[in-house]
């Protein structure tokens, strides 16, 4: 098996706190901004970590020039997050020692977001006094760093109400990373309520092939070495039936059976979605906690097929994928049907 460590290249050390690039705040359409993750017709696990903020050209457009990406689903997804949270408050977890890290995440992410979308957002800070304006939600709010009561639902919930990303905060101690806080409503078959308080290496225990390749331990060592202010990213993918963002372990009874039912469904190309996560790994400056932002993108097979190169490539990847990996990703039941359709079958 050929496992490639993707080299981060020599410009990896560029940290810049002040110069966040600016962009037009126009919203790209779902496909032109879709982070199509395959660079090859064969997919294997790798420690595919690269510096953040690098633009990637795809056959349909581009992605990757911003940490916080807002698209036309913004309000809809944030509403969905609130609904999920209301039904299941365990999706938000903050161990008490992570409160400073949650504030660190706020004072790191909101300024970035304001710099990315200067026409509609603004962040100002004077000492611990902050002001946040978000035109998309009609918010104009003042709060005090460190004072939880100055944000309606506390810092982590508030941050989760401003960005489409799921949020995980890892503490670093005893030579390990610990998942000690998170707001995760759009998980791909895992659950923050279950994983909270666990070490990074425990959480990643059951992934097939990964231990033999030492990929996870390498990733862990890499993350432990990150210095405050550094920002990296990686992509991960799976597939989901329908445009369902909340596929966490808790709601399995609601979505699990669709995995089987979709196989013979003539509407499979519209129901089956490629699900891509762009994960940002940010070492927070004031606390040294590691912030994982997980932004989930969904595109149906039919949408994918509008880009001929993607159609062919995804078909080949799905066809070739070893069965243990397909099983782990939960796509083993329907991946042949999907590959068949993508390759021109019906």
């Amino acid at each position: 098996m050929n496992v490639e460590m993707q080299s981060a290249g020599s410009s990896t050390d560029e940290i810049d706190f002040q110069e966040v690039p600016t962009f037009e705040s126009e919203v790209p359409n779902r496909i032109s901004g879709f982070p199509f993750p395959f660079r090859d017709d064969v997919y294997r696990y790798s420690t595919n970590v690269e510096p953040a903020l690098q633009l990637v050209q795809t056959e349909a457009g581009s992605w990757g020039d911003r940490i916080i990406d807002i698209d036309s689903n913004y309000l809809e997804e944030l509403n969905l997050r609130e609904t999920v949270l209301r039904l299941d408050p365990t999706r938000l977890q903050v161990m008490s020692h992570m409160r400073p890290a949650a504030w660190d995440a706020i004072t790191t992410v909101l300024p970035q977001m304001a710099a990315t979308y200067p026409d509609i957002m603004k962040f100002e800070r004077q000492g611990n006094q902050c002001r946040w304006q978000n035109g998309l939600q009609d918010i104009d709010l003042e709060f005090t760093v460190g004072a939880d009561e100055t944000l309606p639902e506390g810092p982590l919930h508030f941050l989760g109400s401003q960005i489409q990303d799921d949020i995980v905060l890892m503490d670093q101690r005893e030579g390990s990373l610990w998942l000690d806080a998170g707001l995760v409503t759009f998980a791909a078959d895992w659950s923050v309520g279950f994983d909270v308080g666990m070490r990074f290496l425990e959480i990643h225990g059951p992934v097939p092939r990964v231990h033999e390749e030492r990929i996870i331990t390498r990733a862990h060592q890499f993350l432990l070495r990150l210095q405050p202010g550094e920002q990296y990213r990686r992509t991960n993918w799976t597939m989901t039936v329908d445009r369902r963002l909340d596929t966490s372990t808790e709601t399995y009874p609601e979505w699990g059976k669709d995995r089987t039912l979709v196989v013979d469904d003539p509407t499979l190309p519209d129901r089956l979605h490629l699900r891509v996560e762009v994960q940002h790994l940010i070492k927070l400056p004031a606390t040294g906690a590691l912030l994982f932002l997980v932004r989930t993108y969904l595109a149906s097979l039919r949408e994918i097929a509008t880009v001929p190169e993607w159609r062919t490539r995804l078909g080949k990847v799905l066809e070739e994928l070893p069965s243990d990996m397909a099983e782990y990703k939960g796509i083993d039941r329907y991946r042949n049907a999907a590959a068949h359709w993508l390759q021109g079958g019906d």
Partner: protein, 323 residues
């Protein structure tokens, strides 16, 4: 196969140019310097206990930042004049307000443990500098902490700041005997879940850590700050083969591997040249490394896949490098 490909290691080379905005004498030998952004921009926050690498002329030295790190408008360090040092501190003492200076982004290598129930800080002499950063952060964040500070009668650097944080609970020692006797009872009487942080001369730190271990403290709860690897004097000669070019060179006992490589025109990125920054990692293909650095983890050292070429050497006669 390398533990982590060298190219994937975060590097420190990112620097900023700052302006000296304040210089003040804290004692006859210790001077404090504050640096701020020339353009008036906000400086990055930093983790308590962080240091910056200051580049001055041909010398680079690490200094602890003394602020809490939360939303700093300047970076402040305290520099003790070391007449027998490499000249770095002498050059620093010549700095004046208005000078500009090149510093690395803050590096965290002595972070507080956020989940600790209590933080016991122990400082001796100039070792107070990173501890002061911790103490200030603990106060601002409302974390439980206490400080034991050992200093010579006339040179309690930053004593006023420590007193204003801790008031009467600050314990001060002007001789080693009284410190030693109260250390034992302090180590016995901490709340469960206390983490200990010590900074000072190497001998001081190792005696504190040794006593704590003897008294049953788990090593995960003991933290100490080194600035420099213990470079154990000159080493033995060894041979190095460079796999990519097939060249073989001898590294004499008086020179570092980095210097030997530079001698034949091979430049390796480097910064601290003291085994702390992690910049000069080179992949090892064959041979066992005599690790002298403070950068690699014990696990990584045991693999002998990477050598920090500014300080480390070969255990046996030969090393083969992926260069």
């Amino acid at each position: 196969m390398t533990a982590i490909p060298v190219a994937m290691r975060p590097r420190v080379s990112k620097q900023m140019i700052l302006e000296v905005v304040d210089v003040r004498d804290l004692s006859p030998k210790v001077r404090s310097f504050s640096f701020a952004s020339i353009s008036g921009q906000q400086l990055p926050a930093f983790v308590p206990g962080s240091h910056i690498v200051v580049e001055l002329g041909s010398k680079s030295n690490s200094y602890s930042l003394t602020g809490s790190g939360q939303y700093p408008d300047a970076y402040t360090i305290s520099v003790a004049l070391a007449p027998e040092g490499n000249g770095g501190s002498k050059a620093m003492h010549q700095l004046q307000v208005g000078d500009s200076i090149k510093v690395s982004y803050p590096r965290s290598a002595f972070a507080p443990v956020a989940s600790a129930r209590h933080h016991l800080f122990i400082a001796a002499g100039i070792g107070i500098t990173p501890i002061l950063s911790h103490a200030r952060a603990a106060e601002e964040l409302g974390r439980s902490s206490s400080l034991m500070y050992v200093f010579r009668p006339t040179s309690g650097v930053h004593l006023q700041e420590c007193r204003s944080i801790y008031g009467t609970t600050l314990t001060e020692y002007t001789d080693r005997e009284s410190f030693n006797s109260s250390l034992r009872s302090a180590l016995l009487n901490q709340p469960i879940g206390t983490h200990l942080y010590v900074c000072g001369p190497a001998g001081f730190m190792s005696s504190v850590l040794r006593l704590a271990e003897e008294m049953g403290w788990p090593t995960e709860r003991l933290h100490s700050e080194h600035f420099e690897a213990d470079v154990q004097g000159p080493g033995k000669n060894f041979q190095v083969t460079l796999a990519q070019s097939g060249q073989t060179i001898t590294v004499p006992g008086t020179k570092s591997l980095l210097e030997a490589l530079e001698g034949i025109g091979i430049s390796v990125p480097n910064m601290c040249r003291k085994g702390v920054c992690g910049e000069c990692a080179v992949p090892v293909l064959k041979g066992r490394v005599e690790h002298r650095d403070l950068y690699l983890t014990d696990e990584e050292k045991a693999l002998h896949e990477t050598v920090m070429c500014c300080v480390s050497r070969a255990q046996e006669q030969e090393l083969e490098l992926d260069l």
